[in-house]
């Protein structure tokens, strides 16, 4: 079959079973848009800004586990997309980005809307390609999908010059790919796994620390079984929330900068630590020197060797896919005659119980101002704990992570690694596209939401009834909190004046808007909003302006040196 490059591109997407492409047209991709027009298998979602196309495709991938696809034009299309590409890269999300480029003879001549796309995106993609000839197009796209989704996932960009999309070639979609330079591992080293299980059996104060890798690797089930069989305490990172059920008694909460007292203390004082698909981020272990001051043996399971012993030296490295490694561990645990010392484990749980007794997530429930924590608790109740929750970046993100208990993976979608304000709303769209029947809530702040507010229009066009929970504190709250705690109350540029009337704004886009000013109105407003199944509802909660996120580990401090409340300031 002889096709143009543009037709080949769309055929490849069809072959990959791509349902949705999130994109924005322009000169360099006109042939590709023409090819899209002539078919109806791949549905295109027209966003209002390329950043949103990337976030929506990214969240589609996070929610569904499939590869997200975005399509942008050359020059400004690509530069607008970069934030979204970097966001996906930092959180290891499988995506394929197709970008238009100026025609090959014009490359390097400062042509109209030319940028060095491969150069600009190189540090924030897993890999990228410039397709110089139409004959290489199909095999390159095949490789892109393979690389994006295998091993440690990530975004892969394919840059297609306009003339390549116009030229004609024989279309053959390769059945498989093999690349001599890229062979991701799956099975872990069995000797190491044996050693690890033995170490777990000898533990007196064990701890299991679970990250986004368990969600990316679809291993929540295997993990949950293993943790329950062992009876050990388990914590999730911000990216791992939902990998181990948030309502389970063995769950000690999120750990890290805004983790729970019990999770951080258990992390510090355990004698054997099993880290699974987590990368010892600086927001997780605090000051590394302080973390090392305690002796513990560490087992680390990760598919990416470079994640292992990067910031923390480990005793038993296991390079492999989480699901495979956990299954092999489970077999050994089942077969093992030795069991962890029951008395020691009981004492350890008793200790953890005492730490839990500090009730570090308590807050003032008698205030006549709306407490943001309360809104999230009610959101949890009203949605039966079963919504897909996206978030932006700031205090509201941390409260959502702390107070919405995620029992299932792929329900909590947020930008952890890059911390991208503007992620929340387009992410909600992507999740709603993946699951049209699901309840999707976007927890945001009045500053973050304005970074991609234009997407309210996309929600209207595609009937995406997402619910926006705006925790409106009239502050760049997280910035204000740091300024209060670390910069002597000098609130430099963290107050935002002249906010829009979000109710009218929502209405002008054709949605429902409500403002909530009293604690008593929080629950009824949420109930009403979520009852409106087919509408976007923008809930503008006027929250306590000066509320802070606790616990908090200040940058540079040790994990256990937590501020637990206003009394610690």
């Amino acid at each position: 079959m002889r096709l143009t490059g543009a037709e080949i591109t769309i055929q490849c997407l069809q072959e990959e079973g791509v349902e949705f492409v999130f994109g924005y047209p322009g000169g360099a991709v006109l042939y590709i848009y023409d090819a899209l027009f002539n078919q109806d298998k791949v549905k295109h979602i027209l966003v209002r800004h390329e950043q949103a196309a990337l976030h929506a495709a990214d969240a589609y991938a996070r929610a569904s586990g499939r590869t997200g696809v975005a399509l942008v034009t050359s020059g400004p299309g690509v530069t607008n997309a970069v934030t979204g590409i970097a966001t996906a890269y930092m959180d290891s999300i499988p995506m394929v980005i197709i970008s238009g480029q100026v025609p090959t003879p014009a490359i390097g001549l400062d042509a109209f809307q030319e940028v060095d796309t491969v150069g600009i995106t190189r540090p924030c993609v897993k890999h990228n390609f410039l397709v110089k000839h139409v004959d290489e197009l199909a095999s390159t796209i095949k490789k892109a999908f393979y690389v994006a989704a295998s091993g440690r996932p990530g975004p892969v960009l394919v840059d297609i010059p306009k003339d390549v999309s116009q030229h004609i070639a024989e279309f053959v979609y390769p059945k498989s790919v093999s690349m001599r330079s890229y062979n991701p591992v799956t099975k872990g080293h069995s000797g190491q796994i044996k050693k690890a299980v033995q170490m777990l059996m000898e533990a007196r104060r064990p701890m299991i620390y679970v990250g986004g890798g368990v969600i990316l690797g679809n291993a929540a089930e295997q993990l949950t079984k293993l943790v329950r069989d062992l009876g050990f305490p388990c914590t999730n990172t911000l990216m791992g929330l939902g990998a181990y059920p948030g309502t389970d008694p063995q769950f000690v909460g999120m750990l890290g900068m805004h983790g729970t007292y019990e999770a951080n203390l258990a992390m510090q004082h355990c004698d054997v630590l099993l880290a699974v698909g987590a990368r010892f981020d600086d927001r997780v272990i605090g000051n590394p020197q302080h973390f090392f001051s305690e002796n513990r043996r560490i087992i680390h399971v990760d598919i990416d060797p470079s994640s292992i012993s990067k910031r923390v030296r480990v005793d038993v490295p296991i390079v492999g896919n989480v699901a495979d490694v956990l299954e092999e561990m489970q077999k050994l645990v089942n077969a093992a005659t030795a069991r962890p010392d029951a008395t020691a484990l009981k004492d350890w749980w008793k200790q953890i119980g005492e730490w839990r007794g500090r009730d570090c997530l308590r807050y003032d429930r008698t205030s006549n101002l709306i407490k943001p924590q309360y809104v999230i608790e009610k959101l949890y109740e009203v949605t039966g704990g079963d919504a897909i929750v996206t978030s932006d970046v700031g205090q509201h993100q941390m409260w959502a992570a702390q107070y919405y208990k995620f029992d299932k993976p792929r329900r909590w979608l947020n930008s952890g690694g890059l911390g991208t304000m503007g992620f929340g709303l387009p992410a909600a769209m992507g999740a709603q596209m993946a699951f049209p029947e699901a309840t999707v809530a976007c927890v945001t702040g009045e500053a973050s939401i304005q970074m991609c507010i234009q997407e309210l229009s996309t929600c209207k066009q595609y009937h995406l009834p997402v619910k926006i929970v705006n925790l409106n504190n009239r502050y760049l709250g997280m910035v204000r909190q740091w300024q209060q705690i670390l910069h002597g109350n000098r609130y430099s540029e963290s107050y935002m004046d002249a906010l829009p009337d979000f109710v009218k704004l929502a209405e002008s886009y054709g949605h429902v808007g409500v403002r909530i000013e009293n604690p008593a109105d929080v629950e009824p407003a949420l109930r009403e909003a979520f009852a409106l199944k087919d509408r976007v509802v923008f809930m503008d909660f006027m929250t306590d302006q000066t509320e802070n996120v606790f616990p908090m580990v200040k940058a540079g401090q040790g994990l256990t040196e937590m501020l637990l409340g206003a009394e610690d300031l």
């Binding site: 491969v118 150069g119 190189r122 540090p123 897993k126 890999h127 410039l130 690389v147 690349m179 001599r180 330079s181 890229y182 990416d304 060797p305 470079s306 012993s309 990067k310 030296r313």
Partner: protein, 163 residues
């Protein structure tokens, strides 16, 4: 510590910038980097001289391996190896200096490859220290220009780095 890393990479446009970009983005030291295609035109061989603690070198190796265009990475310091660098030096050679410079070049097994009334161009190969020693042995003020390729390295004996 100084390490010499040997790489095989796809001979693709952009492969070099991925490696160079990795070093600058992650703040790794780079003393020299040389690259050229091998007998198999689809593959390039690269030698990178870098330095850092064992942890840093381990990360560098892992990060290089992660690049999709990189086929193999080997740290030559893990075995015995030979290191060679080529240097071309143009020196002011006048009067009695001409004889002296020629003698020094001979001692270092250098060759004079171009001559004018007032200059010599000397070609020298060897490990880095030998080239440094040569530059130290002649009068600095005589040096007009030096061009060095950076080190190339290869393992000793039967051991080979190939796909």
């Amino acid at each position: 510590m100084r390490h010499i890393l040997s790489l095989l990479l796809e001979n693709e446009a952009g492969a070099l910038s991925r490696v160079a970009g990795l070093f600058s983005a992650r703040g790794y030291n780079i003393e020299s980097l040389t690259v050229a295609p091998t007998e198999d035109p689809t593959l390039s061989r690269m030698t990178i001289v870098t330095s850092g603690s064992e942890e840093v070198i381990e990360q560098i190796t892992k990060q290089l391996n992660k690049l999709i265009d990189v086929v193999k990475v080997f740290d030559l310091n893990e075995g015995n190896y030979i290191e060679r660098e080529l240097m071309l030096v143009k020196v002011r050679a006048e009067g009695k200096d001409r004889e002296e410079l020629k003698r020094t070049a001979d001692i270092f097994r250098g060759r004079i490859i171009d001559v004018t009334d007032r200059t010599y161009t000397i070609e020298l190969t060897g490990p880095r220290d030998k080239l440094d020693a040569f530059l130290d042995a002649i009068d600095r003020s005589q040096i007009l220009e030096t061009v060095r390729t950076g080190a190339s390295g290869i393992g000793r004996g039967e051991w080979v780095l190939r796909v």
